[in-house]
Symmetry: C2
Subunit: 459 residues, 2 copies
């Protein structure tokens, strides 16, 4: 937002090669604002601004840039500039950047790091993709239990500069994590108190091999800003901080919603995804649903005689089957979200089923009554009312609606649970998937009831 | 999770009135775990456990409990216990609790507070609902610019105990906020450095009258753990912390998804919402969509002669119109989410439209080709192939699919933007809404093409 306002000025200053004024202007901004500003500049000017930033500000600004901007910058910078920048980035941000780059580019970039940062980068990249290990940073402060609060404060002052967070200090013994101490405890204690006196020996930690979803859940449950990461022997390996977990959580929410809309998860913001990619991500599900949809034609053809005998039934078909799809989407939405938030679990299936049968019946009845009234009145107004046919058709539609809406709510609520049971993402039982499923059941229910009730009247 | 494991033991100990053992056991747990544990106990036992907790632990545990459990506990406690508990809660958590209670209960509870907490509670409740003011806490640490780092540390040690966070310290002059200082700066500076030397006089703040969505966006943009809240004159009123904002963000994501599934936002977790409420929240949209769906019957009746002449067209109707609904849901999902994340804005509408026309054409062509092949092969295998009719029907379906899928993607992408333009939530253009809209256009497109191409053949 700051970017767009001063972008023209910066571009002008660059054209005028007035670098000292630029430096003055940009140092007024925070890294997060600079990232905005840089991304609004023309590509050839971005590197110029980066070169004017102090090293640590440059690295932080770079972390806030969008992936695309980052990759363009890396491409435009000289080799030694790239090395310096990556050396100054925090290891967790750097790992996340590497994950999105092709393997050969990553190897080259890792070679540009200094030996110390290179071994950190390699250690982090050795953990499986989507594991907590990839999110860790090895920058944290360790204190010892026999120290006083004053010693801890002195230690922080001398060695805390590169720590990703000073919110928590970690107490280790021979490398094993034995406690985490909130900086608050240190700040509120007298200088001569021993660390062992404020320890509670209760520490929540994550395993480096845990998947990142576990980390999101742990942060949500524990309300922490940082959590330590250990190996199976409780050795402290690193910490992960809330900001990285928030990014992961937001990505997960987006993927969940996209999958629920029957789109494969996009890797980039919508507007940046190339059209061909956008097509590919949508084509798969659309084709699957389309081929599945041929079942509706198969179901319909079983009732061809009924339709030929009573074309009026076909007129109400889209209305009726879409009511099943709509009520199914509603149920699926509620259950998918409740599963994602951990509000319901698989073992609740019977409780959910009972609720949805009740809800489906009432909603179906409501639409049934409305449908009956609407058809009786509509046909009368249009002068199509036929005392032998119209009431029966209206009854067929009402009863079908009850059945179809119930089928929709049951399918919509149970399919996400079934998906989860089978090890898939519940959101894969998307609204369109539930709707297509409801279409087929809807056709069978509607025409079966019609065939039974209209026999001898229209058929 | 801890709760379920030891719940039976606690229940037994309560029955045996062995309160000292209970106290020992429960003090092993963190407040967040205690909240889990308490909610798993039988209602009459919950208060017993609460009475055994130290006052501050009780207040923190209470904050972590679900709303229902909180309300039951308040109901079961003696009046003075309630007062003590509420006095010890942090003001922001207390305000959020009050927001969900009926007005008369709130007045009674506020009267149970001590005078100091009462005036804080009243001040917070005076801000409009959903405003930043309601989320503030007045518990923060103020420092002065002429102090040294050591003076600041001493001040924190003496007065920081009740501060909601010690991550940021606020520098004020006559009540006006002039800077925020990260505790990191204090911890890393030498003891004799002046606060004014580490000040950068850059401070991001929120207005108490801003709505909570603004707060969520500011936290997302600035990557902060806490932000100060000021009035229009820059006077510091309070701070809001990331944990409260996260709760709001999660609520918003849930509401967005529910609205997108054509359900009015639920006030409580799915499984806790009474069935009657669940029906009410779903009935509104279902009825609106149902009544809107009658337009499909109207559209169909315009083509009654076409359907009577060529019942085969009706067989493929559900398949064809649902393809429009599915591609529309996909487009709407992507745009609603991109709007929520701020990836696209209204001014991008033409760029989005162009992309979606391209995507829609390719996807429609794909389904068209598949549909053509499937019908030609299917009718041949079933022995229904008619050299005069089948190829023409297949062509009608293919061309219709291109038109319908394009109509679906355009409607799905533009409706959320239109909603936003009109001041509604973009998620209100839900998947079922887009699908119903596509049904009507789909019917018109399909039968219009059919009437034109089949004239003289079947009609």
């Amino acid at each position: 937002m700051y970017g767009r306002l001063i972008t023209p000025e910066i571009e002008e200053l660059i054209a005028a090669r007035d670098f000292s004024t630029i430096r003055e202007v940009i140092l007024e901004f925070e890294p997060v604002e600079l990232a905005d500003l840089v991304s609004d500049l023309r590509e050839e000017n971005r590197v110029v601004v980066f070169r004017l930033l102090p090293k640590d500000v440059a690295a932080e600004t770079f972390s806030y840039c969008e992936r695309d901007t980052q990759q363009e910058l890396l491409h435009d910078m000289a080799r030694e500039e790239v090395g310096a920048l990556l050396n100054d980035m925090s290891p967790d941000d750097r790992t996340q950047l590497f994950e999105d780059l092709p393997g050969n580019v990553v190897s080259e970039l890792i070679n540009s790091l200094n030996p110390e940062e290179r071994s950190i980068a390699l250690a982090l990249l050795n953990w499986p993709e989507d594991s907590v290990g990839r999110l860790m940073t090895p920058d944290y402060v360790i204190i010892k239990k026999h120290w006083t609060v004053q010693q801890a404060l002195d230690h922080i002052r001398n060695y805390g500069k590169h720590s990703e967070t000073l919110n928590y200090l970690y107490v280790t013994e021979h490398g094993t994590l034995i406690d985490d101490i909130h900086i608050r405890e240190i700040l509120l204690s007298q200088a001569d108190v021993l660390i062992s006196d404020i320890m509670d020996e209760k520490v929540e930690s994550l395993l480096a091999t845990d998947d990142q979803e576990t980390a999101v859940k742990a942060f949500r449950r524990l309300d922490r800003f940082a959590l330590p990461v250990v190996d199976i022997d409780k050795k402290l390996l690193g910490i992960i901080t809330l900001d990285d977990v928030l990014d992961i959580a937001e990505e997960q929410a987006t993927e969940e919603m996209q999958r629920f809309g029957a789109v494969e998860a996009l890797d980039d913001p919508y507007i940046d995804v190339p059209i061909i990619e956008l097509i590919r991500k949508r084509a798969t599900w659309l084709v699957v649903l389309f081929l599945g949809g041929f079942l509706t034609a198969t179901a319909m053809s079983a009732f061809e005689a009924t339709i030929e005998g009573a074309v009026i039934l076909a007129l109400f078909l889209p209305l009726i089957i879409s009511s099943g799809g709509n009520s199914g989407s509603q149920a699926a939405t509620l259950i998918v979200r409740a599963l994602a938030l951990g509000e319901v679990s698989l073992s609740d299936w019977w409780r959910i089923m009972r609720r949805e049968i009740g809800v489906g019946f009432v909603l179906g009845l409501l639409l049934g009554v409305l449908g009956f009234a609407r058809i009786m009145i509509g046909e009368t107004i249009q002068g199509h009312y036929n005392p032998l046919v119209t009431p029966v058709v209206a009854v067929v539609i009402s009863i079908s609606l009850i059945g179809i809406v119930m089928a929709g709510t049951i399918a919509g609520s149970m399919l996400p649970l079934l998906m989860k049971r089978l090890g898939f993402d519940p959101a894969a039982s998307s609204a369109p998937f539930v709707a297509t499923f409801s279409d087929v059941t809807g056709i069978v229910i509607y025409f079966t009831i019609a065939t039974l009730l209209l026999r001898g009247i229209l058929l």
